[in-house]
């Protein structure tokens, strides 16, 4: 019996995926439910934030009669172009996994399933996996447009008619690009290329948006800023682009006019044609690409002999066990494109963070003494939070990243205590460097006093120890050795708990330090020496900060060690 290329056969091919999700939901424990609840809350907050931002901008644009129409058109065009571009990039990467590298493909490829049917089923999977985030992002954006539209129902009808084909077109094109790449190159090279390009793409997008200084849009003084912001994206408005077709339908919908037939016809006919062409191409391209995906030629970006030599030399003074773990961790990190490409995002994060301080108003440094120091103090919390966000990705994951090879360490005479301290000392230096750069440079931009700069630097030094200890310890207490991508570890319920714990720790440090900072700065401002009571209170508070940091290192590390010792693999 062979499966024919029918909707029923495609549904049969997709059934295991949906049944898997259903079974996972049925068997979900409290941890998974908590995680889902946390994700939903964060998602909802983000959606509300996006809605509020767009709503405010659209209300503001609406005040200028002659500019309103072209500006709304511009904003909608930017959103459509953004959706098309992000979906294209996301689909190209997702299609690689769903259509070529998935474990169940060996079973399906060896069965008598027609390739177009398999391609069609996988295209739907790719569509679902690559577009859910963009679709969710679009909901608050379009809701804001609907809320400010002449006729919200007409606009929502326009979205319902013009948005789905745009998503489908982006998915089909992305999937075809992946198919062409896979037919031409081995899977590992394509994977590396795509991961690197997607990381660069995100970095570029972050820079592009940040450099435009979107905060200016909330400044009610100048229409010029709004016009400049959207025009600076220079979105091409070629009539041949699907995003332009979507925009023209949405613009008509927002104005409460009849929806234009031509762009709608173009959108639906193009998406249908692309699905058919994709399935037709699959007859001869999918088989070639899948065959190439089995080739195990080593990836090109994985091997850098010079870096290896440097690592060998630099690690030579260390004790053999620590050196072995250090070298293994660094090599694995540097050779895994999914890992090191994240460094690009980290650099972007740091640059944007510091850029935010550099674009503060020029007269900020002349702000009042209190404000200046208050910002510097709060910056400590912000830097701590950034540090925790970096740590959840690189430190919390360090134990779990041993993956299924953990049996090697577990069956060796290396104790879990040594393993955890090795992870701790490996992660600490780069995070110390990052935290010091963030604090000192941002304090320079803020024009903070020497006292605040030194205090921030010392505090963040201790906080880094705490953040790393907490990360390694909690990472060991909530290990996830079976994963496809390291980012799954950071996004686990343990990762979320770590972020909550790290944020609470930072808040506690700030609270304890606020007392001596207030007392010392008040005395300084008034030009009087500290009273003995104030001095005692300051010493006590700072002592408590130190104790808190020590506990934040020691307790999670001990907890993590015990959990790992008791763990069965």
């Amino acid at each position: 019996m062979t499966l024919e290329f029918t909707p029923a056969s495609i549904a049969a091919l997709l059934a295991p995926y949906f049944r898997g999700i259903r079974n996972q939901q049925r068997n979900a424990g409290r941890g998974e439910l908590l995680r889902a609840l946390l994700f939903a809350s964060v998602g909802l907050l983000f959606a509300l934030f996006v809605f509020a931002g767009f709503y405010r901008v659209l209300l503001y644009i609406g005040q200028f009669d002659e500019f309103t129409a072209p500006l709304t058109h511009r904003v909608l065009d930017t959103v459509s172009a953004f959706v098309l571009t992000v979906l294209l990039a996301s689909t190209i990467v997702t299609a690689l996994a769903t259509q070529y590298l998935s474990d169940d493909l060996s079973l399906l490829m060896s069965s008598p399933v027609p390739l177009p049917a398999l391609y069609g089923a996988r295209l739907i999977l790719t569509l679902l996996q690559s577009s859910w985030m963009v679709v969710l992002f679009s909901v608050p954006v379009y809701a804001a447009f609907a809320a400010t539209a002449a006729s919200p129902s007409v606009f929502l009808a326009a979205v319902a008619l013009a948005f789905p084909p745009l998503v489908l077109i982006a998915t089909c094109i992305g999937s075809m690009v992946t198919s062409a790449l896979m037919a031409a190159f081995p899977a590992r090279r394509v994977k590396e290329m795509l991961l690197l390009l997607s990381a660069l793409f995100v970095v570029l997008l972050v820079f592009l948006i940040r450099v435009q200084q979107p905060e200016k849009l909330l400044n009610p003084r100048s229409i010029y800023d709004v016009t400049e912001f959207f025009s600076s994206f220079s979105t091409p408005s070629s009539p041949f682009l699907p995003s332009a077709w979507t925009t023209s339908v949405l613009v008509a919908g927002r104005n409460g006019e009849a929806l234009p037939a031509m762009p709608l016809l173009l959108l639906w006919s193009t998406s249908a044609a692309l699905v058919v062409i994709g399935c037709w191409m699959a007859r001869w391209l999918y088989g070639i690409g899948y065959s190439r995906a089995q080739e195990s030629r080593p990836a090109r970006l994985s091997s850098l002999p010079l870096v290896d030599r440097i690592l060998e030399t630099v690690s030579r003074p260390f004790e053999p066990r620590f050196r072995s773990l250090l070298l293994k961790d660094l090599r694995t990190f540097l050779r895994d494109t999914t890992q090191w490409s994240q460094l690009l995002l980290l650099v972007a994060l740091v640059v944007v963070y510091l850029y935010n301080f550099s674009v503060l108003p020029a007269n900020f440094t002349f702000a009042t003494f209190y404000l200046q120091n208050l910002f510097s103090f709060l910056n400590l919390g912000l830097a701590g939070f950034v540090l925790a966000a970096v740590a959840v990705r690189f430190v919390f994951t360090s134990v779990s990243s041993e993956g299924r090879a953990f049996w090697i360490i577990r069956s060796s005479p290396l104790t879990m205590e040594k393993l955890l301290w090795s992870k701790f000392w490996t992660a600490l230096p780069p995070l110390l460097l990052l935290s010091q750069v963030l604090t000192i440079v941002s304090n320079q931009f803020l024009g903070a006093t020497l006292f605040m700069t030194v205090l921030s630097s010392i505090t963040i030094l201790f906080v880094t120890f705490g953040i790393v200890g907490l990360g390694v310890g909690m990472g060991a207490a909530f290990p996830k050795f079976k994963f496809e991508n390291v980012t799954q570890i950071a996004g686990s319920s343990g990762g979320l708990l770590y972020m909550i714990a790290a944020s609470s720790f930072i808040a506690a440090v700030l609270f304890l330090e606020s007392i001596p900072v207030y007392l010392i700065l008040s005395a300084d401002f008034r030009g009087v020496p500290l009273t003995s009571r104030a001095l005692a209170a300051s010493i006590l508070s700072l002592g408590l900060v130190l104790v808190l940091n020590l506990f934040t290192v020691a307790l999670p590390m001990r907890w993590g060690r015990r959990k790992l010792d008791a763990m069965e693999i």
């Binding site: 590992r188 195990s296 030629r297 080593p298 990836a299 994985s302 091997s303 053999p320 066990r321 050196r323 072995s324 773990l325 070298l327 293994k328 090599r331 694995t332 050779r335 895994d336 993956g403 299924r404 090879a405 049996w407 090697i408 360490i409 577990r410 069956s411 060796s412 005479p413 290396l414 104790t415 008791a566 069965e568 693999i569």
Partner: protein, 250 residues
């Protein structure tokens, strides 16, 4: 060299291994047989320190695994059935890594690493990343790394899975030579010919309990079978009547 005393492992209400006691002396190659789900891998994982026994005691080369895990694990080499390795390391780097975590000065072991990689026929590909290796190559690499620290005891789970005849021949020879030099090997396998050809004594586990232990002759006597091969003895002791109906099903 390996002593198991009243070893029990429970998963909730299910008893995977029940009151298992046995002793593998120095120089013995011990085969551990049993049908799927009998408790072989659970036992092996307990000996390797990957699972904790619910009760009972494990002693390796005179060291109690629970109270002196570092010394016990230092005397043990472990080869699992599925060779999950650090895919982004080369074979040579992996061997050096293992040397390091066993506390050896890597520089001093370079000669031994070369010897072992040559023995398992991976010397030519020592600089290639493990991710490009086949299952059999990974299995041979795990074997080389398990011998690196010259353990007194070797515990092996399904050594023949994924190996070509040449690799299988190599492994058999290595284990035999290793035992002949006074070490012990505890090997679990489904390949009955290997067990019959190689093992000094064989233990058969069924539903978590050791149902038979001894040399081939002792097992034959216990099974009360006239047949000469282990397969017949194994099926008699573990119940193999179900096979009769297979023809009708197929």
């Amino acid at each position: 060299m390996i002593r198991l005393e009243a070893l029990t492992k429970r998963y909730g209400a299910h008893e995977a291994v029940r009151n298992l006691s046995l002793h593998v002396p120095a120089g013995e190659l011990f085969g551990f047989l049993g049908p799927n789900g009998a408790g072989k891998t659970t036992t092996i994982k307990m000996i390797a320190g990957l699972l904790r026994p619910t009760s009972g005691r494990i002693e390796i080369a005179g060291h109690d695994l629970a109270s002196h895990p570092v010394e016990a694990k230092g005397a043990l080499g472990f080869i699992p059935d599925r060779p999950f390795l650090y895919e982004k390391l080369s074979a040579l780097e992996f061997m050096r890594f293992v040397a390091g975590i066993y506390g050896f000065d890597v520089g001093a072991l370079n000669g031994r690493i070369d010897e072992l990689l040559t023995l398992v026929e991976l010397h030519q590909v020592r600089s290639q990343l493990i991710e490009s290796f086949s299952h059999g190559m990974k299995q041979r690499l795990v074997m080389a790394s398990a011998f690196l620290h010259q353990p007194k005891v070797m515990v092996v789970d399904e050594p023949m899975v994924g190996l070509d005849p040449r690799g299988a021949r190599l492994i058999k020879q290595v284990f035999r030579d290793y035992c002949d030099s006074g070490h012990s090997v505890f090997v679990s396998t489904h390949t009955l010919e290997v067990a019959q050809e190689l093992c000094d004594r064989i233990g058969i586990i069924l539903r978590g309990e050791l149902v038979a232990i001894g040399t081939m002759d002792e097992l034959k006597a216990k099974a009360e079978t006239k047949g000469q091969d282990l397969e017949e003895i194994f099926l008699k002791l573990t119940g193999g009547e179900g096979f009769k109906e297979s023809e009708a099903v197929l």
